[in-house]
């Protein structure tokens, strides 16, 4: 446990080389999120093909946790339906101990196992102030989809 758990290689990689960076030409949904306490900012834009996410772009600035989390999120939601995305967000929030509930059937020892790369973020749970960083992109995505 400790910093190695927090700053896994995959996180640093997404931080240095964020995926799906920038803006879409004609986003169908978008939202902005800020963490007023630390100043992190994020803009998420999404386009759909039918019910499925066809394109997603993220722009913003912030710490390695918020930026890598958003980057991994964009990869994870591409091609997914709203329903699948909701489930994904639910799993993420559960991994972060933000939500309780066992209806997602996650392994309590390794709740992030089904999340692929994103599981790397579970070290954040040990750093309660950083959980807000990790969830900034996800909360902003939810806002974009709800709007």
């Amino acid at each position: 446990m400790g910093l190695e758990e927090l700053y896994r290689e995959v996180i640093l990689d997404h931080y240095r080389n964020p995926r799906n960076q920038g803006h879409l030409e004609h986003p169908q949904a978008s939202a902005q999120g800020v963490n007023p306490l630390c100043g992190d900012e994020i803009t998420i834009e999404v386009s759909f093909d039918g019910d499925k996410v066809s394109e997603v772009a993220v722009d913003g600035q912030g710490c390695s946790i918020s930026q890598s989390s958003a980057s991994m999120m964009t990869e994870a939601i591409k091609g997914k339906s709203r329903k699948e995305i909701n489930k994904l967000v639910g799993r993420f929030r559960q991994m972060m101990s933000l939500d309780e509930g066992d209806d997602l059937g996650l392994d309590p020892e390794r709740p992030g196992a089904v999340l692929g790369d994103i599981e790397a973020l579970q070290g954040v749970r040990q750093y309660p102030v950083r959980i807000k960083c990790a969830s900034l992109g996800w909360n902003t995505l939810l806002e974009a989809l709800d709007a």
């Binding site: 400790g2 910093l3 927090l6 700053y7 640093l12 240095r16 306490l37 630390c38 100043g39 992190d40 900012e41 600035q61 912030g62 710490c63 390695s64 946790i65 750093y127 102030v129 950083r130 960083c133």
Partner: protein, 404 residues
């Protein structure tokens, strides 16, 4: 090296080995301050100004003694010029709303600086909106100092108030307030000083500053939370309307009208922070027993060491003055490729407490071209070992993020 290590025993919170480098946000409280409040609450507490009985007399006397102590500490000649508030923020709101709404009108200008804390910015924005006055800002130079040439050029007969931080809580810069006050007064403007970072760290004489209003907080100067000070020159206070209405601030009240009590009471509506005033009194006694000059010297020495050693850390850039001229013990830094928030987490793992973020100074951040900095700030209980820990923590951060 000024040795204040004998004080450490008064700060039990540091016993677990934390390198506390966030006094700029709030200082720790020494035992004598905690004991003074506890003793007072156990022996002499009652509401003030209200009772004809002994406890209330004792409590009132303690509260008013705190006022006299503050006046004495900041060189105020008239203790009635000392108003107890909730903190520097409320002090500045009292000036902005209480003085500003009464004395500003369409076409007037409020001159602030680009390095103000939100507490000395947002209230003026709010008042500007309500009065039609405009808010103008003096920029900073490349080395993080106030641009005095621009300041002079921006002054004019329409400037009714100039408001400046006494020490930047981000850069550590100490503007030349006496000079600015002289310029402001020459143009007939009132001079406000946000001294939240200045009063805890230097010997302040409000008359030497030349200000009309001076605001600061107890919690940054070894005192309790819940109390702050607004000092106002008597003629400036006379131009100021009460910011809050309530008990103890009136001379007479009918169902539809009220007349105000004398200064300072008209600015202290309701039950004041009584126990906290006793704590602030003890904090000032404590600071004076060390000596404000010694405290300043001590902070300066640590800052000089920090600046010297930080330049050797790979990727580190100092925001603000990198020399010791006119600056205090606040050092903001960024590390190439590592966000300030990550720096703070990594430092925390090594028991080094620094603050990361915009430090309630977003406009300054934009002007510096950064979104966040990591800030180390020094106070009486810090020592060189804290800088060692800071530097080694930063190096560790560099390793984790592969900075070289």
């Amino acid at each position: 090296m000024t040795d204040l290590s004998y004080l450490k025993a008064d700060f039990p919170i540091l016993d677990n080995g934390v390198h506390f480098l966030d006094s700029g946000a709030s200082s720790q409280k020494p035992i004598p301050v905690l004991e003074a409040m506890d003793r007072f609450a156990r022996t002499s507490y009652a509401n003030v100004h209200r009772g004809a009985y002994k406890l209330s007399v004792a409590s009132t006397e303690a509260y008013e003694a705190a006022r006299r102590r503050v006046a004495d500490f900041i060189g105020a000649t008239d203790e009635r010029e000392v108003i107890f508030t909730r903190g520097a923020t409320t002090s500045l709101n009292t000036v902005a709303f209480g003085w500003g709404l009464e004395n500003l009108t369409e076409g007037d200008r409020i001159l602030a600086t680009e390095m103000e804390h939100h507490a000395n910015l947002v209230p003026w924005q709010m008042v500007a909106k309500r009065t039609g006055a405009t808010l103008d800002h003096v920029p900073i130079t490349d080395d993080g100092r106030l641009d005095m040439a621009v300041l002079e050029s921006k002054l004019g007969p329409d400037v009714k108030v100039v408001t400046v931080t006494g020490m930047s809580n981000v850069l550590g810069t100490i503007p030349d307030v006496p000079r600015i006050a002289e310029l402001a007064h020459r143009h007939g403007a009132r001079m406000v000083v946000d001294a939240a970072q200045l009063v805890p760290h230097t010997s302040v004489d409000v008359n030497q500053l030349g200000a009309d209003f001076v605001a600061f907080s107890s919690h940054k100067m070894l005192g309790p939370t819940g109390i702050g000070v607004l000092w106002g020159r008597m003629d400036a206070l006379e131009e100021t309307e009460p910011f809050e209405g309530g008990g103890e601030m009136i001379s007479d009240v009918t169902l539809h009208d009220a007349t105000w009590a004398d200064i300072p009471h008209r600015f202290e509506a309701g039950t004041p922070p009584i126990i906290e005033a006793v704590g602030l009194h003890a904090a000032i006694d404590y600071l004076d027993s060390i000596g404000m000059d010694k405290i300043f010297e001590h902070d300066q020495e640590l800052t000089a060491i920090a600046l010297e050693r930080l330049v050797d850390v790979p990727g580190i850039a100092i925001q603000g003055p990198t020399d010791m001229k006119d600056r205090g013990g606040v050092v903001s830094m960024t590390m190439e490729g590592v966000h300030a928030h990550d720096l703070a987490t990594i430092l925390d793992e090594q028991n080094v407490a620094v603050r990361a973020g915009h430090h309630c100074a977003k406009p300054l951040m934009r002007s510096l071209g950064v979104t966040a900095t990591a800030r180390a700030s020094f106070y009486v209980y810090n020592e060189e070992a804290d800088i060692d820990a800071l530097v080694s923590g930063l190096r560790r951060a560099g390793e984790i993020f592969g900075v070289n």
